[in-house]
């Protein structure tokens, strides 16, 4: 196949369209893969056993087509304490503020208290155990959603596994390209979740420049939800796009229905880049928790993981009782264009058609 959407990334992966879906939902991943795109399944919070089971589930449904697994390799690790020690560090003033929010918005108690003791282990040992599953299963692509994958490149390449690195700064891209990373995902500030502070339109060409001559494809991430975004990314020199928010409200997505409705209604400025959920800055949809913690006179946000310990009951209660008015989810600024609950195949098709329209328009001008 040739045409404006056929890029080196398509050849590298054997895919039809240079569109990568990042998703935590296996059904979305399979639908995108079978429609000619590529999917990377986020497995950071899963046990090695669960990851192995998910890999098999996908393999059984994609007829040999390639796919990827994304893990969050830590890049810095502070001191660890027990959950009890951490809970004891939360000031009473912050507990009182959390209770005020609970009363003001009638936030329900979770059906089952979040098991804080399973939160431990987000460290090197756990990450290595997860990586071993990806290696054992010979997953075609391993994507590192945060830390540098440089240390595992040799082993991965011996096993025939491509390694992708997601970066938020050009200097991270340079370092990973020099180390031998196979594909770089340049993620802009527009993106959902953790991002750098450089906008997509600024970081993508800089990373493309850094990769020039290396043969390393660059994928643009952050705010990509239409064919126009895809065409623009290719015009910036990228070889494809990385999409996440686009699939959250798809028909196959396992996101619960009230949250899908919230996402379909959300505008760009309903996403907010804040540290009040977890103590880490991340882009999520705005909810009453944000409103209260960003209000004048609110207590200072606690360091990680204390703030997450504080917000855990709010988050879980909103999910358990499907309270759309309370829910929050990681979503990028491109959420404005996510307005219908469509099948993943149609979303992919719309993206392709939209991009081809742009190229046709330029060709006929």
């Amino acid at each position: 196949m040739s045409g404006p959407l056929h890029t080196p990334l398509c050849d590298k992966l054997g895919i039809e369209y240079p569109i990568v879906a990042f998703t935590h939902c296996k059904d979305v991943a399979v639908a995108v893969i079978n429609a000619g795109g590529f999917a990377v399944l986020g497995e950071a919070m899963h046990s090695p056993e669960q990851i192995a089971a998910d890999i098999k589930w996908i393999r059984d449904r994609v007829n040999g087509k390639p796919f990827g697994i994304d893990l969050v390799l830590p890049a810095s690790v502070p001191e660890e304490k027990t959950v009890e020690e951490l809970l004891a560090q939360i000031p009473q003033s912050h507990r009182d503020y959390e209770q005020m929010i609970k009363r003001k918005y009638n936030v329900p108690d979770p059906k089952q208290a979040p098991n804080l003791h399973i939160w431990g282990g987000l460290d090197q040992k756990r990450a290595l155990a997860q990586v071993e599953v990806v290696f054992d299963e010979r997953v075609p692509v391993f994507a590192s959603g945060l830390g540098s994958p440089a240390f595992l490149l040799k082993r991965a390449h011996q096993l025939g596994i491509q390694v992708w690195g997601l970066v938020g700064k050009p200097r991270q891209a340079k370092k990973q390209i020099a180390a031998g990373t196979d594909v770089i995902i340049a993620q802009g500030y527009d993106a959902a979740g953790h991002t750098g502070n450089i906008g997509t339109f600024s970081i993508v060409p800089q990373v493309v420049d850094a990769a020039r001559g290396s043969g390393v494809p660059v994928i643009a991430a952050g705010g990509v939800t239409t064919g126009r975004h895809l065409a623009a990314a290719l015009a910036l020199g990228a070889d494809g796009v990385w999409t996440g928010s686009l699939w959250l409200a798809s028909r196959e997505s396992d996101v619960n229905l009230p949250l899908k409705e919230r996402l379909l209604e959300a505008e760009t400025d309903d996403t907010i880049y804040s540290d009040c959920i977890s103590g880490y800055t991340m882009r999520t949809t705005r909810c009453p928790w944000h409103d209260e913690w960003l209000a004048r006179g609110a207590p200072e946000v606690l360091k990680p993981p204390l703030q997450m310990l504080l917000s855990a009951n709010y988050i879980q209660g909103s999910l358990d009782y499907q309270r759309k008015d309370l829910m929050t989810e990681a979503a990028g600024q491109g959420i404005h264009y996510v307005t219908e609950m469509k099948p993943a195949r149609q979303i992919l098709s719309d993206l392709v058609e939209g991009a081809l329209d742009v190229f046709d328009r330029f060709a006929s001008a």
Binding site: P74, S76, E79, F151, M282
Partner: protein
């Protein structure tokens, strides 16, 4: 894991899952760390940036090995970061003058 509140890390406990060492060539080097980790209780991650001095102490995890350096004398740390030191993945460390 040992405390990193002091500049000298504690020795690895049996079963700690890492090997410790000291790299004199890295000791005293000024560096930045494009850090971060997964966020407890979620499937999200968060970035954190640090700048400071590498002590030269390192920890190697796994067979690859995956090397981590101890950074102290922090001149830049995330808001609310209460510790005086941080362990940084070697692949995420940018040494001054190398950028």
């Amino acid at each position: 894991m040992s405390s990193i509140g002091s500049h000298r890390p504690e020795e690895a406990a049996p079963g700690a899952g890492y090997r410790e060492g000291f790299d004199a060539a890295m000791s005293g080097r000024r560096a930045e760390c494009d850090g971060g980790k997964a966020i407890e209780g979620t499937h999200f991650a968060g970035r954190q940036e640090f700048a400071g001095i590498l002590t030269g102490h390192f920890r190697d995890f796994g067979d690859y090995p995956w090397r981590w350096y101890l950074m102290t004398e922090l001149t830049h740390r995330p808001s609310g970061y209460a510790h005086e030191a941080v362990w940084c993945d070697s692949g995420s460390v940018i040494l001054e003058g190398d950028e």
